[in-house]
């Protein structure tokens, strides 16, 4: 029973990380129908940005965690947002009217390129980096299990940011522009919306969440490699599809389900943790084949 509860807690923490990434995935897909493979890399560069603040900004190491952590978060978010904006401007925007396969392959190229760029140019990044956690060592006991405080922080931030973005998109002027653009970019343009600006904004929001997720995730698992982005990116995409692509609450819920599948599957299904990835991909295939609109998605639209 303790094992089960512990695995559920682990699953929730993993789900929170994936959820923060999945929001970006689902928003970008919702607005320009692009599977942004490189979104996982935004998450990864965000984490490295946070690590860079810790390592290279003098004085950060001696600060209390409530000063150091926000600084690292800011560093991570700045890096991830910069990269996302550059990516949109130079890789995706020129291809907006290209055949469907072109942006997808570009995204693969961006993903590989970013991984390698970080590996080559970030000091020592060719092996896994240890991520500092000196300032949040606390373990919180909940009943019979213990959860690291970083894990609880991840869950709280994930839900809070998810709700905030949802609120922003539903209530604000730019949110309305975003929804309009995703429904029909041409008509939105006629109504005075600038689609380019809206699309950049979408990338930026996604990148903020991914950057935050990156720093918190690094702090939680304490190690960081350049391949972390790709794996978590695929998980996040699975979550977005599971929840119904384009739906924010769907992405977050989907992410928690995926987190559960991975930890519980690793614990209870044959093959153990070596096969936990496999179960996620099995879920992905089953969802895509039998319920492509996802759990929360609208009924299937005809897409070319």
């Amino acid at each position: 029973m303790t094992t089960l509860l512990q695995q559920i807690a682990n699953g929730l923490v993993l789900g929170a990380t994936i959820g923060l990434i999945a929001v970006g995935y689902t928003m970008v897909y919702g607005i320009i129908q692009l599977i942004n493979f490189a979104h996982g890399e935004i998450f990864m560069t965000g984490a490295f940005g946070g690590l860079a603040v810790w390592r290279f900004v003098p004085g950060v190491k001696d600060m209390d965690w409530y000063f150091a952590l926000p600084l690292m978060l800011v560093g991570g978010v700045v890096v991830s947002v910069t990269i996302a904006v550059l990516m949109e401007r130079f890789a995706y925007r020129p291809l907006r009217n290209a055949p469907r396969l072109a942006p997808l392959i570009t995204a693969l190229g961006v993903s590989i390129g970013l991984q390698e760029a970080v590996r080559i140019w970030f000091p020592d990044a060719d092996r896994s980096q240890s991520f500092p956690r000196e300032f949040v060592k606390t373990q919180v006991s909940i009943g019979p299990i213990e959860v690291p405080a970083t894990g609880l922080l991840l869950i709280a931030v994930s839900i809070a940011l998810g709700a905030l973005v949802q609120f922003y998109i539903n209530k604000s002027r730019l949110g309305r522009a975003m929804r309009a653009t995703s429904q029909d970019p041409d008509t939105a343009r006629l109504m005075g919306v600038n689609p380019d600006r809206v699309i950049v904004l979408t990338f930026v929001i996604g990148a903020i969440l991914a950057g935050v997720a990156g720093v918190l995730y690094g702090m939680h698992v304490q190690t960081l490699g350049v391949r972390a982005g790709f794996q978590n990116g695929i998980f996040a995409f699975t979550a977005a599809v599971l929840g119904g692509i384009g739906s924010l609450p769907g992405a977050v819920v989907g992410a928690f389900v995926i987190g559960m599948v991975k930890t519980l599957g690793g614990q209870y299904l044959p093959g153990g943790t070596q096969y936990d990835y496999v179960w996620i991909f099995v879920v992905l295939i089953l969802v895509l084949v039998f319920r492509p609109q996802g759990l929360f998605g609208e009924s299937e639209k005809v897409r070319a």
């Binding site: 570009t106 190229g109 390129g113 080559i120 695929i234 496999v278 991909f281």
Partner: protein, 581 residues
Amino acid sequence: MSRLTAMVPRTLGRPLSAIGGLLLLIAALLPWATFVLNEGAYPEKSTLQFFDAPFELTGFRWHLLLFGVAALVVTFVPLPSKGRVLRAVGWGGLAISLVNAVFITSEGGGIGAITAADGNFAFGSIVGFIGGLALIFGSAGIGLAEIPRLPDLPRVVEYLVLLVAFAATLWLVSETLTAGGSAGVSSPYAGAVFLAFLGMAGGLLGALHGVGVTGWISQMSERHRAFSVIVLLVCAAALPFTSAGTQYWMNVAGTVGIYAATAIGLNIVVGLAGLLDLGYVAFMGIGAFVSANLSGAAAAKLGITLPFPVAAVIAAVIVGVFGVIVGSPTLRVRGDYLAIVTLAFGEIFTRSAQNNVGDLTGGANAIPSIPPIAVGGLQFNEPIDLFGTKLPSGVMYYFLITLLVALVMAVFANLKNSRIGRAWIAIREDEDVARAMGIKTGKMKILAFLTGSMLAGLAGAVFAHKLGTASYDAFTFLQSVTLLAAVILGGMGSIPGAVMGAALLFVLPEKLREFEDYRLLLFGLALILIMRFRPQGLVPDRLRRAEFAGETPDGKPIEEVEEQAVLEHEHELESSKGSKA
């Protein structure tokens, strides 16, 4: 660049081109490095002075000299499409100069290496670069006339021309393979030499294209298809007898051949049927593991040893079954979603193989010591004597793989021009319309996956035996992306494109060992740039090229043709009105 070149006035075209040609010629005769680089003289006779020994030029300086002379001649000779030729030569010269300038600068530790240092000067690369630029701008001034159509000739003469063309291709391939030698201690400058050679080859091909020779030859080879196929096969079989006939290059050529065959198989799925597959290499992997297990490898769980052909056929069939399974979601899933499903299948395969699923894949230990293919006592991994020439080991695999590529090409070409192939293309263009036209889209899509996967399985079986091991890390997501990139780089739906793409993507890493660390970075950048600037690929399929250029398949602009049609229609209407009145 095009905005800049558009500003060149007509009158400046010829003088600029002449200057460019002259500069290329001078650059070839100038010194290129102010001092001898640490790892040996580069380029050979790097400090050769102006006109010291004009006939002792070798390597890229010799090519540059030829380019310069050719540019000068073409500038003053009445040739209809000289602008195109000059542009190609200019880009070639520019590439050669740039590659060497960058390389000498980085190797020599500073800009002094290509300008002036210690009382020596070496402006070769800079002069060459400017010459290339001048040619590009000059060609813009001259203007890009339409590529001329060369005349049809009597049959025998055309056969001769084809023979010469294919022999030249063979020479170019063997030279390209061996340019710079194999990277490593013996030839530390392999990467630079090879890239410079590629620049030369690109310039040469572009110039030939500009004169209309390549189009002419491709039309001829289409007219005499059987003859060309035979000659091409003979040429491929002749490669071991050229300077590329060493064990090392036979190995590389064999590997490239296997990936080329797989890329053509992938081309069926992606290029013809338009189904993006991101886990294709898994089929190759399954083929490799199945054939390894059936051929009595030491670590194989099944204790049976079947002869290679039987094992290969069984492998292909089993892979085909997997192909149908992976393809079945296509019945319900489309486009990007399908890409993700195939990616998921690919990842499941990699994970399972890594964890030694069912003791069949050896996990991290791989399946070692798969026995080599043997036919009638002839072991394929041993050197052989043929026509009195001693051929290195690996050459038998090369021959086998050549046959495999030929087989895959034949399957592809026949399918493409059949009812099935047309159905695939229709599905690629618009699935709903294809269905409305009476094509059974579900059946056709599964068939595409079945064919593609079986070809990959066959290639995988040969791959495992050639390598002697089957390991999961040869079949990961990155390989899938590389294969896909090969197909796209070459041009979707085109056979020469797939072969060329595979050759480029799998030879380049061999050549650029010293840039090993940057290999994947460059690969990622290349993907982005290709999609940005040449999404139709290097050797696009005829129909697709027309589609991207907004032209009909015979090369007329679509708008013109449509206008023509409208005019004709109106004319008809008027004349019919007139006849009524």
